[in-house]
Symmetry: none
DNA sequence: CCGGATTTGGTACTTTAGTATGAACCTGAA
DNA sequence: TTCAGGTTCATACTAAAGTACCAAATCCGG
């Protein structure tokens, strides 16, 4: 039960999607027998299916892909050796928790709170909490300042 | 013409998608006549349509929610030079006006719009105008992305 | 002088960010 | 087992950011 709960919290999205997909496949089989669409034209039926699945695709994509997660920023890692090193001491002084460091990293990459939430599979509320704590630890008041300070202290790449 | 261009820049994705959808609907009508799927079962046909449209939905969502995903110019300016120099060519490509460059510089320093307005002795409205134009030229949607892109293109110190 | 681009600034609106507060859960240490 | 710190999430609010549309003044080249 415990294990199930943990797994559920972590992967509920995937499970829900799988479940919905299964339901849809069953629905398609039922519809195939024309109990429902007996006097509908095939054209309309196919159109409905197409629209529905397109909407589902949009929804799935919205849930799973943060707008920039696997495109621009992350694949930019410049070849060769970087003359850059994270200042571990500064990091330690700031006493940032693991989650806060994660969030800070995404903030520096230009993520919005919503995008961070999607990337980490958390709610926006949680992100806001982390961000607020982050700001007070960094002694800043805004996102831009946090980015500047993080780069200056070299606590992010 | 001016207005059209602005609207086009903003809604081109939607227009393109609408166009594609129209094409697909026409395709469906053609397919309806079974020239192509003469000896395929209806089930398989519907499944293909569903999968295709779901994929299209995913694609549409990814495009719509990440207009910054297509980053052609980013791969150009990679070669290794001295780390601290402003890339004049990138600056020229972007066609940023003088004011826009000033504003961008302050944004990267973490200034708020109000602070920028006070620093440049302008109104917040004006700053917002500059910032908006800046974002469309940089092809970003938020402050953090602008900071990241400006640093990546090395158009600010 | 005209047309285009720039700069400035306004109104009205939506969206995102940020703060404050409370609460539930988990984990490791006392 | 209690307790502190960390993580998660919610509601409710304020503040800042951003968009769209408009308009006026300036400057500059044909």
């Amino acid at each position: 039960m415990e294990a199930f709960h943990r797994i559920w919290k972590k992967w509920r999205h995937l499970l829900i999607y799988g479940f919905i997909l299964g339901l849809l496949i069953i629905s398609l089989r039922l519809l195939r027998w024309k109990y429902v669409i007996a006097d509908q034209s095939l054209e309309i039926y196919i159109g409905i299916v197409a629209l529905f699945f397109m909407g589902l695709g949009v929804w799935v994509a919205m849930q799973w892909f943060s707008p920039q997660s696997k495109t621009a920023e992350e694949t930019e890692s410049i070849p060769g050796q970087e003359p850059f090193s994270i200042d571990e001491k500064a990091l330690e002084r700031l006493q940032l928790t693991e989650r806060e460091q994660e969030v800070l990293g995404l903030i520096v990459k230009g993520y919005s709170n919503l995008e961070i939430a999607q990337a980490l599979h958390l709610s926006v509320s949680t992100i806001k909490t982390h961000v607020s704590n982050l700001y007070s630890k960094l002694e800043v008041k805004r996102r831009g300042q946090a980015i500047g300070k993080a780069r200056k202290l070299r606590i992010v790449e």
